[in-house]
Symmetry: C2
Subunit: 267 residues, 2 copies
């Protein structure tokens, strides 16, 4: 893949403090980063914005808004949109939330998610931030995200202007779905692919299934086919590598970043 489109998601090398991450990106010629709210807020949103801006780095996404099935979602998500503006990114990734006492089953959770996105979309659009609904793998349907397929995400996104709401295509979450290729084409044609993230699928999965995303090229996903698919759908934006992986986190962050860039170029 084209190095100019590479972006490193902050979680891939979360062992690096923000200034270390930025310095490593500059040294390695990495053009973009996907940031996470928690470490950014810890560092200070304004300070983080200045740090990446001064380094000439693009902020490809802010991760993440969402969790709409939990009380307080509206205030939290408005804050996330404001932080995206400050950081200079046009894309807020949404992990929509799972089952909660307020939304104890999938139909009620999905209805709440659509309703919440409708409430936020104009606020985001007015500020130049696009909401990118991320379908998560069905193994997270109960506890993290009741939106499990790209078709479901698109079905919500399509109720709003593409400049307000689109989707995140993440190979880790979608690779198994034989309907995803058609949905990617549909999303691309409508200009609704607001983020493209890549990770590989490796087994066995670890307990909790959160921290076993494989380095590119080490797992089951045909990442070349996926990137062709997304490109053919008309997406020309950044390709963000987002790995949650205990083994990678235990190692030297800059080395992992360099290795990730190499793996990316090899796809």
């Amino acid at each position: 893949m084209n190095p100019d489109r590479f972006s490193i998601n902050q979680m891939t090398v979360k062992q690096l403090a923000l200034p270390e991450l930025v310095a490593a990106c500059v040294r390695l010629g990495v053009p973009g980063v996907g940031l996470w709210r928690e470490p950014v807020r810890e560092y200070g949103v304004e300070a983080a914005a200045a740090l990446v801006r001064d380094a000439g780095l693009a902020v490809t996404t802010l991760c993440r808004g969402g969790f709409f099935t939990t009380d307080g979602w509206e205030e939290e998500n408005r804050a996330a949109i404001d932080e995206a503006v400050t950081l200079g990114t046009d894309t807020l990734v949404l992990v929509s939330g799972g089952l909660t006492p307020a939304c104890p089953d999938l139909p009620s959770a999905r209805a709440r998610i659509a309703e919440a996105i409708g409430a936020l979309a104009p606020y985001a659009g007015e500020r130049g931030v696009r909401l990118a609904i991320e379908p998560l793998h069905p193994m997270y349907a109960a506890d993290r995200c009741a939106v499990s397929t790209l078709d479901q995400a698109l079905e919500i996104a399509e109720r709003f202007p593409a400049g307000q709401v689109g989707v995140t295509v993440d190979t880790y979450h979608l690779w198994w779905d034989d309907r995803a290729p058609a949905a990617v084409a549909r999303a691309g044609a409508a200009g609704r692919i607001h983020s493209y993230q890549v990770a590989d699928w490796t087994t066995p999965l670890p307990a909790g299934v959160l921290t076993g995303r494989g380095q590119l090229g080490t797992g089951a996903i045909d990442l070349r086919a996926w990137s062709d698919l997304v490109e053919k759908a008309g997406y020309t934006g950044p390709v963000e590598v987002e790995l949650f992986n205990d083994d990678l986190w235990a190692r030297d962050g800059e080395q992992v970043l360099e290795e990730t860039l190499t793996a990316f170029l090899a796809v």
Copy 2:
């Protein structure tokens, strides 16, 4: 649910040897069991058949054939069909297999699976055994089963007579899928629901994600809605409780069986 339709899958109480399982079923008035090939072969297929027959137990399914992406699948599956005949069950559950060197990606695995089922269907049909393709949760797509949705399973089954090939509907694998209800209705209308299995979805998932199926009523799945759905589709056969659960396996098997029956009746 109706106690006359209850069947206990052998894996739910695998700590019980086959004679213990049969005796416990008789004591508790459990009318049916779903058996597994490995423990049955260990006990002796003929002897197992005599044991359950003499106890008046119905064998609701034999688990399992499949693994079509691995060498030797044809001989193995013919043997499984023959064992089903000996055990007096009309249903062989198929777990179709994941990615292997011979089938390194999902399209090739899925093509192989359809081809293999086509080769086996007449052999099964001639012997009065119905193949029941079981879609497994997408988290198993790489290593156990490239058939991840009921739509995919049906798309294969529909190429053959319903008396030869149908599907297994298992709540654990399908609960997240918003397209599953329509597929259940379609499968039922065509007489292709050859097995209905139930388990609940509990989190966090354990490492390897094989042994975390929840006792009925302890997880995220609306089992009443699922059973209504399957019933409305015209299915009136046995309801097999199949739990793979380390905590349940660590306990007294007969107590777990009794508790499972109670949980079943409460749904």
